[in-house]
Amino acid sequence: MAIEINGSQVPVPDDPRVSLLDLLRESLHLTGTKKGCNQGACGACTVLVDGERIVSCLALAVQYEGRSITTIEGLSDGDALHPLQQAFIDHDGFQCGYCTPGQICSAIGMAAELRRGLPSHVTGDLTAERVPFSRVELQERMSGNLCCCGAHNGIIDAITETFGEVAA
């Protein structure tokens, strides 16, 4: 009865009402994952589950037994930042920084979706093997992550720099 979180085994909580987000924040003190709305509307709580992005406020922790969760705290390799973390600093992809962990985790999950060729609302050819990497695609796919400070341009620039090559 355990969930793997950033490589550690964590027991599933007793109270079935506990969201994955509250498990992270209140029980494990992994407060890098943020709560902006607690109702799936802002993306601040985005984490990766087996590499896929989810909003952890709408996820009950008990459902994630045996799954592998990566949070913002699990992205750096010791002191070395993940390239996207560094790109966020370089491109000033945040102001207050509260939406930032969610933006970063979401972008990593999104890049994997792009690589798998998953189309979005703005993808022209739904049958194509590859989805062309473009600013419009990124903006569409990142729109579940709100940034009320308005750091959107820097966020997209940071993602483009980090994943543009990979996708091309």
């Binding site: 109270d15 009402r17 506990v18 509250d22 924040r25 209140e26 003190h29 992994l30 407060t31 890098g32 994952t33 943020k34 709560k35 902006g36 709305c37 607690n38 109702q39 799936g40 509307a41 802002c42 601040a44 949070t71 913002i72 705290e73 992205l75 750096s76 930042l81 973390q85 966020f88 600093i89 370089d90 000033d92 945040f94 102001q95 207050c96 920084g97 509260y98 930032t100 962990p101 703005v122 600013r135 419009v136 990124l138 903006q139 569409e140 990142m142 729109s143 579940g144 992550n145 709100l146 940034c147 009320c148 400070c149 308005g150 750091a151 959107h152 341009n153 820097g154 966020i155 997209i156």
Partner: protein, 776 residues
């Protein structure tokens, strides 16, 4: 008011007028900023460099601990229940089920809430921080729909929320005023702001309007807005005996500490507010009931409390921007010269706050005109107290003014930029004071060229497939503020490191980074030798992160502390120093030491001075001078905003395709973080123009869209790359030559969007937001 009281008020008013006049006519050299800040001359320091955020690393790693994230032993969690009527009395509160629910530690209502003083309303004292002055949970009265009426503390958040849902209340409902129309029917009152009436009459503007050969006379409406900082308000707090420690998300740590002390009957230093990280504020993160409720519950339960408002809780218990109805009438000659500017209207307010959204503030200084009539009236409603939100007054006021100017340009068949420049004032048109630094003409020239304004066509003339394309522009202005009470402490260590401490705030504006750059230049040190401490009420200064004044306040405070430090160092240096005999204003900081301005080789390092004096460190605290420069000069940030929109001819959907902000905001301290400030403001302006609206049920006074799913804000897909340029012309009278940049971005933007929509479609939308139904 009694006759005596009236006479006293008049005498006070007269004395203030005399003082004001004296400040206006005093020589420049008597004013703060009368001698330009020496940092303005220095071109090769840290100021002006695009330094990455110093707090960037902890933020991208998720290590920055915000208010709701501070660990505490034995913590309890709070949840609130809110009233469901707009006005009346609670006749009964049923709490037994909540008390019996698992994990519940305390159920608090007005029956067991400790007796407390009312919160000090913002602007009623220099450190008053509360959004309203309604006593918090002190009796059975309901003042607005959504007022907190019960608090549950439990061992977990889940338990607290479940128990709060079990609290039931019965009411004796009273008739409430919940629409602006109903409020106006009861009569309006003249508004005042910062101690001055929001009313200016110069000449007979109505007569001038009537006589003018060309005119527009139009009405505009703007709705309520909420700040929607992404971090909901939260505090983690604990009592230690009679001392209270609050980890808060705050735009005013000194203000909240003082105000909480008033409420709980404590001395100011018995309350300590920590707020090193704030997840956005925009005017909303001052003092609201949550801090008081949390602290009271901690007192009653004897345990630490985390009170983290739900998103709905923020809408219910923290006020936003109020709605406005504005009339703008402009009379002009055929060459565009304004004979009359009339900008009047009504806003909604409550009986328990004092912010009549001052939408005329920008109009006071924007254009020359033969006559002026400016007036803000307010109607009193039963609703959550409205409050400051990014560019209060200016954001919605410039929407109306700058759209009306666009309308007049059409009526005159004149280019709207030419019309604006035709009415460029030589001095402040309503106060008569000289401008300290105003380069809006230059900002328009640079902006128009870069944006390709010359390619703009007549309304409705550019179509690409289903999309109608148009361009618009608008002027933004936002006053330079510097509030009194700024102070800073500098501790200089013998190894050349300096600690600069000031009770300031970092909510994402880049304050920590820019202030370190400034302090390093001021002290002649490298960036990594300077630590800038902030976000703690125990530090010196009353430095509100509001009114775009923080940078000026910090700048003036650090300047004052630096002057004192120089004096101390010269004393310590004594007669054996190369600096011997020099006065403080003859030396400057450079290369980790002091040098004579006139003879730079007369130099001694800090380490040497302190070493010889056998001192490990020297500490000084100093207060900034009173902000008289604001009354002596007319000081403002300016922008020329350009926007291109595409409006779908079939669906009416508006997409913003290009934006350029051309700014005249004095010297830019850090281009990297400044660009983000400008862009963030512009994006909020796009939201203001096209989507943001707090929907209010006028029957019940209840906010109907209290969630980020239903209150729309711009998302990635809504936003083009936002182009930002600035002229970097320093204001010789402002610290560092800089003006505030936090609110100028939102100012003028909504008008630029609306004017572009008109240019695309030929349709004038005068009530925000410009949703597709209005364009179909």
């Amino acid at each position: 008011m009694s006759v005596l009281g009236d006479a006293a008020a008049k005498a006070k008013g007269a004395a203030q007028q005399v003082m004001k006049k004296a400040i206006e006519v005093a020589p420049d050299s008597w004013m703060p900023g009368g001698r330009p800040d020496p940092l303005i001359r220095r071109q090769h320091g840290h100021v002006g460099q695009p330094v990455s955020r110093l707090d960037g690393r902890v933020k991208v790693r998720g290590e920055a601990r915000f208010a709701a994230e501070v660990p505490m032993a034995n913590l309890t969690y709070a949840a609130l229940a809110y009233s469901t009527i707009p006005k009346g009395r609670m006749t009964g509160i049923e709490t037994a089920a909540a008390e019996a629910a698992p994990g519940v530690v305390l159920v608090m209502t007005h029956r067991n809430m400790p007796r407390l003083n009312p919160p000090p309303l913002f602007m009623t004292a220099s450190k008053a921080a509360a959004g309203d002055d309604i006593p918090v949970m002190q009796d059975d009265r309901v003042y607005w729909n959504g007022q907190p009426i019960a608090l549950v503390l439990a061992e977990t958040q889940e338990q607290a929320e479940h128990a709060a849902s079990l609290v039931t209340v019965t009411y004796n409902e009273e008739s409430a005023v919940t629409s602006l129309a109903a409020g106006k029917a009861q009569g309006t009152e003249p508004g005042s702001f910062q101690g001055e009436p929001l009313k200016i009459d110069i000449g007979d503007a109505e007569a001038a309007l009537a006589a003018a050969p060309h005119k527009v006379d139009v009405a505009y409406e703007t709705p309520r807005h909420n700040h929607n900082a992404i971090e909901p308000h939260a505090a983690t707090l604990a009592w230690d005996g009679d001392n209270l420690v609050v980890h808060d998300c705050s735009q005013g740590v000194a203000h909240v500490a003082w105000s909480m002390a008033q409420v709980f009957g404590l001395k100011e230093d018995q309350v300590r507010i920590h707020s090193p990280f704030v997840g956005g504020g925009f005017g909303g993160k001052t003092m609201w009931s949550y801090q008081v409720l949390g602290a009271a519950a901690a007192k009653l339960s004897g345990r630490p409390v985390r009170i983290a408002l739900s998103r709905e809780g923020v809408y219910r218990s923290v006020g936003g921007r109020t709605l406005t109805e504005q009339r703008v009438a402009l009379g002009a000659q055929a060459d565009g010269a304004f004979d009359a500017i009339i900008h009047t209207g009504t806003v909604a307010m409550t009986a328990h706050n004092a912010l009549p959204e001052p939408f005329i503030v920008a109009t006071r200084s924007a254009y020359a005109a033969g006559t002026f009539k400016l007036d803000v009236e307010y109607a009193t409603l039963d609703m959550i107290a409205n409050t400051f939100m990014r560019a209060p007054g200016e954001a919605v006021g410039t929407f109306a003014l700058e759209c009306a100017i666009d309308e007049l340009a059409v009526a005159l068949d004149m280019d709207p930029i030419a019309l604006r420049l035709r009415n460029e004032p030589e001095k402040d048109p309503t106060s008569g004071t000289p401008f300290s630094s105003r380069n809006i003409v230059e900002a328009y020239r640079a902006g128009a060229e870069r944006f390709g304004w010359a390619g703009r066509r007549a309304p409705g003339q550019r179509r690409e497939g289903d999309w109608l394309v148009g361009m618009g522009c608008a002027t933004g202005t936002y006053p330079y503020y510097r509030m009194g009470g700024g102070a800073a402490r500098i501790t200089l260590h013998s190894d050349g490191r300096a600690l600069v401490g000031i009770a300031a705030h970092e909510m994402g504006m880049g304050t920590a980074t820019a202030s370190t750059q400034v302090a390093a230049d001021r002290l002649g040190l490298a960036m990594d030798q300077v630590t800038f401490a902030y976000g703690d009420s125990a530090l010196p200064g009353e430095v509100l992160a509001g009114g775009s004044q923080q940078t000026a306040s910090i700048g003036a405070s650090v300047m004052a502390a630096h002057q004192r430090l120089v004096g101390e160092l010269l004393k310590l240096a004594g007669n054996d120093s190369p600096l011997a005999g020099l006065k403080p204003d003859e030396v400057e900081s450079a290369d980790a030491g002091l040098r004579c301005v006139a003879a730079p080789d007369r130099f001694e390092s800090y380490a040497s001075i302190l070493g010889r004096a056998q001192r490990d460190e020297v500490t000084v605290v100093a207060e900034a001078p009173p902000p008289l420069e604001m009354q002596h000069w007319s000081m403002h940030s300016y922008s020329a905003m350009f926007c291109e929109v595409r409006v779908n001819a079939v669906t009416g959907e508006t997409r913003v395709s290009r934006v350029l902000g051309s700014f005249d905001c004095g010297r830019i301290l850090n281009p990297k973080t400044a660009r983000s400030q400008f862009r963030g403001g512009i994006i909020m302006g796009i939201g203001l123009a096209l989507m943001e609206e707090t929907q209010f049920d006028e029957r019940k006074g209840r906010i109907m869209n209290p969630s980020l799913g239903e209150y729309l804000v711009p998302v990635h897909a809504d936003l083009p790359v936002i182009d930002v340029i600035w002229n970097d012309i320093p204001d010789p009278h402002a610290p560092m030559g800089a003006h505030g940049i936090g609110e100028i971005g939102i100012t003028g933007t909504a008008a630029a969007v609306a004017n572009a929509v008109y240019n695309a479609t030929g349709k004038r939308i005068r009530d925000l937001p410009i949703t597709l139904d209005k364009l179909m």
